[in-house]
Symmetry: C2
Subunit: 394 residues, 2 copies
């Protein structure tokens, strides 16, 4: 196991009706003037925004509203938010929505006290040193941003999708009511589930030896997702299954499952180019990329893939040929994704094989670059993975 | 799943040599004058205390020392610590040791700003409302106090062992170097492992339905302990196995595995009477009590016990008779405890069957009281469990 620091100071406020007390937590964490940040009209139509407003008003906390955050949130909205916060003297940002809204709120939070262009944090030019506190009211189990120190933003000019991370970006509190996710369409629910599983797999495939506890924690989250996701696809109003998935989504991405081990975020990186170019859902892109990445890198550590197959997907171990077991595991994962309604190849997300050179170029490794922890990838490797993804079948 | 709040703001600083930077974390969390609190001479003899002093001195932080904390820490030492802190103007307590030292440090931390007797928090007369910050340098994987908001103290006058809990008692930081545990005698290592497993079992056995994610997380920790503990008993210097156990011990008790579900802490409660009366190690007492409690309550939910047997101890499921499977699981647990060197019955910890009435009386349920979540116990039930414990065999 490698040395690590783990610091997840977010207060999670979980369960039915908890959003009705959000004003209490805004006050507890020092908010006197709040930016309520949200996405589409569903937050308005469902009455959620009214309940948030009512709770803030009950605590006597003034607020300004900024809606309209896109999935794959854009830099343009972040600039708008930074300006609004400065003008209004906002001292806490309350993100009401999913990963996109929360990531946008985090970008605004580090942008407000920063003198330069907030994009510096995403292009790698600067590291966040101060941030407004962020609270969240989560409406979809997916990105894990409610408990992570990460944020991903897309620059409209060129559709560059880039991320940043810092303990400063961990929300002060996150209100998580699984009921709010019951009205999600099945497709979005499945996209979220895929994202959660991907967050675990990106940590699970590692070269760090002897990491039994984090291996087992990863498998715990994956088993939960394999068992609970089909239940909510079948019955969207199954509160307990929704609750299990929601908490699993947080555990998947606070990094408690990933500490002390080398990680590999190449599937996320490659997917970012897909959703950046085609504006497909992040989870849908992951469903296409991740099993293809697995097939491509599997031989690097067949036993780890075979273990995953046995422990997570209940594949029988073929002692004479663990490679078969490993392949069966990847197949089972792809079948699981298909069964919950996810795409598994390019055509199902509207991607085109002829765009692969563009995708590879945007990935940015050039002729000699390499990236990744479990298996270092070159531009040629990324091309091969995308080719597998283009033609994948069950 | 039930509604819950989960808030674990402790910064965990994990790995080789990390204690040498403890002064940095004392400074980060606002310490200007530190009480260094510790137990036996081993902290001195091993050179650990000198390394702690050196790090504090490097950061220019003055300190006072208070050693001599007993296993099953006593109120008398707490009173001494409170007086010393007040006299010296201490503003952060650094606990260097295991659960006893950390629990004693927590008691001092809530005692210093309190006008009454600190025991009020343990007798249930008062709830902590303020505390000095506590940091820890952990030397044994066991109690999980490095990441919990709990503290247990024994009142010397009558040997009453009682606990209190509050988010205020969560350490600000915990430095965890698995190397420091390599010199522990096998018996203490095994006691610690038993305590860690008990912390999970007390959460695992629940009446709350549909708690898949926390079930799986509990099983993840248990599987880790079943796999890793025999390795460190065989090879005390196995760093990676020590590291897996140490992180498992923290995960077992921050409550991330226990949120949203009813818990049952009766085995711990009953054990407290054993170690209170005989001053045996807490883990040793748990090894005697916990499987006996399991046998006694098993019929309340045979399927849950059968699941545990299958998933944690690899027992084959007997579909025609799940009760057999459940019993085999408890047997496997007791054999595991015996194999790592733990006692399994009264005689092995120097307890006497004729003391059972005294133990039951001290447990304090009287004629009509009941306690427990999974199964409510009366004084008669406790007596029966202790009888099983008195005579348990493999």
């Amino acid at each position: 196991m490698e040395n690590f620091n783990f610091h997840s100071p977010t207060e999670f406020v979980f369960g039915k009706g908890r959003e009705n007390g959000c004003g209490i937590y805004v006050k507890k964490y020092g908010g006197h003037k709040v930016l309520v940040h949200f996405g589409s009209g569903s937050v308005v139509r469902s009455g959620l925004l009214d309940r948030i407003k009512a709770s803030l008003e009950k605590e006597g906390i003034p607020y300004v509203l900024l809606g309209g955050v896109h999935p794959n949130p854009r830099d343009t909205k972040v600039y708008e938010g930074i300006e609004l916060c400065r003008k209004e003297g906002v001292d806490l940002i309350l993100a009401v929505g999913g990963g996109s809204v929360i990531d946008s709120a985090k970008a605004i939070a580090i942008g407000v006290p920063y003198k330069g262009d907030f994009w510096d944090f995403y292009s790698g030019k600067a590291v966040p040193e101060a941030a407004l506190p962020v609270g969240t009211v989560l409406t979809i189990a997916a990105a894990g941003s409610e408990g992570s120190g990460d944020s991903v933003i897309t620059k409209e000019d060129g559709m560059w999708k880039r991320g940043t991370g810092s303990t400063l970006l961990r929300p002060k509190f996150s209100i998580m009511n699984p009921e709010l996710t019951c009205t999600l369409p099945a497709y979005q629910t499945a996209c979220g589930a895929t994202d959660i599983m991907a967050h675990v797999f990106e940590r699970y495939f590692t070269n760090t030896p002897e990491v039994e506890i984090t291996d087992r924690l990863c498998e715990a989250v994956l088993l939960t997702m394999v068992n609970e996701t089909p239940r909510v696809i079948k019955d969207p109003n199954n509160y307990d299954a929704r609750a299990n998935i929601m908490w699993a989504g947080t555990v998947a991405h606070t990094n408690i499952c990933g500490v002390g081990r080398e990680q590999d975020w190449n599937s996320h990186g490659i997917e970012h180019e897909l959703s950046g170019l085609y504006d497909c859902a992040h989870g849908a892109g992951l469903a296409v990329v991740m099993p293809s990445w697995m097939e491509y890198v599997m031989k690097h550590d067949v036993n780890r893939f075979a273990n995953m197959a046995v422990r997570v997907f209940g594949v029988a171990m073929d002692e004479n040929n663990p490679e078969n077991t490993a392949l069966e595991g990847i197949k089972a994962f792809r079948r699981f994704l298909h069964d919950i309604g996810m795409p598994i190849n390019f055509s199902e997300i509207g991607a085109k094989e002829e765009d692969i050179p563009v995708l590879v170029e945007k990935f940015g490794l050039g002729e000699t670059g390499r990236t990744g922890g479990f298996v270092q990838l070159s531009s040629d490797d990324v091309k091969e993975i995308l080719k597998i993804a283009a033609h994948a079948t069950l």
